[in-house]
Amino acid sequence: MQEPNKLKPFFENLNFERDDNTMVINFGPQHPSAHGQLRLVLELDGEKVVKAYPDIGYLHRGVEKMAENMIYNEFLPTTDRLDYIASTSNNYAFALSVERLIGLEVPRRAQVIRTMLLELNRIMSHLFFLATHALDVGAMSVFLYAFREREFAMDLVEDYCGARLTHSAVRIGGVPLDLPAGWLEQLSTYIDKLPEQIKLYEDLLTENRIWKMRLEDVGVVTPEDALSWGCTGVLLRGSGIQYDVRKEEPYELYGELDFDIPVSDRNDSYGRYRLYMEEMKESVKILRQLIPMHRKTEPQIMAHNPKYISAPKEEIMTQNYALMQHFVLVTQGMRPPKGTVYAPTESPKGELGFFIRSEGEPYAYRLKIRAPSFFHTGILQHILPGTYLADVVAIIGNTNIVFGEVDR
């Protein structure tokens, strides 16, 4: 029995040493394959998990509270810190919900750039998933190869916005910059090289005996469970339900682009791994279609709406009214109309949406982040019992959870 004292308070009434044959262990919060700060309390019968209890909150920073105390433009860089593997998708989801709230039309060039960045982020996130998942399962070399390709994608994003992880590359109403000279050529080189690399990873893993043994029929999520537990993204499509927000409720340019939504009815980790690989190929396909679209657009990159959006820099420096507007928007912030918006987007992890209740003030009255990883952590308590301890690592890696997003 534990003996509580002031330095070691009684630990949540968990009886670690038990009289029956089961044993309770703490998996995390500092476990390298917990992918962040996940504390998983597992009740084990031998090697088998009898009960799992995910304990989260170790990375809680009160992002939703901060949103209630900031103007909308101030909050945008904070969204970087949610899913820090693919920051632009968070920036974009927030910008999209504010744009829907104020009814803003984004210029086409900004749409092209945003869609490019979103897909580039998807590739970065999926490569990161593959690398860390393979590392968890024991395929060390895949980690090195996948991180090499991810570096090139991060270089591209760095060339665009100057940051590698916390991009803030999207603004409410458009994008801050046009693409630098030569960027599209570099992007096309990258997406020409990437499919060869994906094929290399697939050659290493897809038919690999150990990889298949570790993933096949591990972490089974039935379609009913996936719906009930609010799984989205690859976890939902890996259970045979073809739902992708990009296809079903198109935003940006996804309505005009030609791409497929891969779906697998295997319900297990192996099927989901295959989906991640297919999705990267689809992202390459989308990027290839986007490159010629950039040239055909007008150079405007920020929406023109003096009530909510600052004018371009040249206008601010030359025209009095634009300067006044800019001053008011920076010091006081925009005041969106009263109302509620929930704008779903397909982030690399699943359905990411910002629920915003505005009361006509420069600060959001309530901002709720619908983070896919939060619900993918929740389902762990349902799918882990009955699996072996060694599979727990594979399943956590396969759900692709990021704790910036879970704890917010």
Partner: protein, 262 residues
């Protein structure tokens, strides 16, 4: 008399308010005939009392009574094919009406339509758990309880999820300040040493730019070799390291003299 400041909403406020400013509202459209939303509205109206229904930014919004949340969600799930509940949480309107607004954001995957159920509960009033219908509520309702203190009846495991179990206060309420309250500031001290140690330790200085000149643990002292953790005054013998106590540029007099040692 000093100005009375209400404490029921301590969140950030607009620094400038125009008293003639009337905030516009996002247009609310009535439910169109023959549409998918009309069918949902019809089915809901038969099962529960619909207080208000409109379409806002392409999503159907239905206001219901809090006691009927299970009945309404059963209709949505079984009759209208809303297989997924995307999100559920609350909004604090305690300062205005003494109420919380609880929302359920629903998704119909087959038709790609979204509906939002809204219901208002009094402070202290409990709401029925929707875990039997949507298991995602297991985590979401725990978060709602954690952040707002809304009790959820018949939840399988209603416990704080993000904040520690012994946390005092509900962080997303409007009465809770952004920097945290007194309990938050003393949380670790109270837990490890006990409340009586607050005086011993003294208030924490959260100014990141604060420098204690005689702190020998984090800063070195220019010109002195001071042992780690030494008290002020001990072993402050001057070392032969060249440094100047002289002000290099005196901005008050505007002198142009730089380092006189050169």
């Amino acid at each position: 008399m000093r100005k009375y400041t209400p404490k029921d909403n301590v969140q950030g406020k607009a620094k400038y308010t125009d008293r003639f400013w009337v905030a516009p509202r996002v247009p609310r459209e009535s439910v169109e005939e023959e549409s998918h939303f009309a069918a949902v509205y019809q089915a809901m109206n038969e099962a529960v009392e619909v207080l208000d229904a409109y379409v806002e930014l392409g999503q159907l919004v239905i206001h219901i009574r809090p006691e009927e949340n299970i009945a309404a969600l059963e209709v949505l799930k079984n009759t209208c094919d809303y297989a997924m509940c995307s999100e559920l949480s609350a909004i604090d309107y305690l300062a205005q009406d003494g109420e919380f607004e609880v929302f359920y954001q629903m998704l119909n995957l087959k038709k790609a339509k979204r509906t939002r159920l809204l219901t208002r509960i009094q402070e202290g009033q409990a709401i029925e758990s929707i875990v039997p219908l949507y298991a995602m509520a297991n985590f979401a309702e725990r978060e709602m309880y954690d952040m707002f203190g809304i009790t959820v009846n018949n939840h399988p495991y209603l416990k704080r999820i993000i904040m520690p179990e012994d946390w005092v206060g509900y962080p997303l309420r409007k009465t809770y300040p952004l920097q945290g309250d007194e309990h938050a500031a003393w949380y670790e001290v109270d837990k490890i040493f006990g409340k009586e140690h607050r005086d011993v330790i003294g208030p924490e200085n959260r100014d990141p730019g604060r420098i204690d000149r005689y702190d020998s643990q984090r800063f070195s002292r220019v010109g002195y070799e001071v042992p780690f953790g030494a008290e002020h005054g001990e072993s402050e013998t001057e070392q032969p390291i060249e440094y100047s106590k002289q002000i290099l540029v005196n901005y008050t007099t505007g002198s142009e003299v730089l380092d006189t040692r050169k």
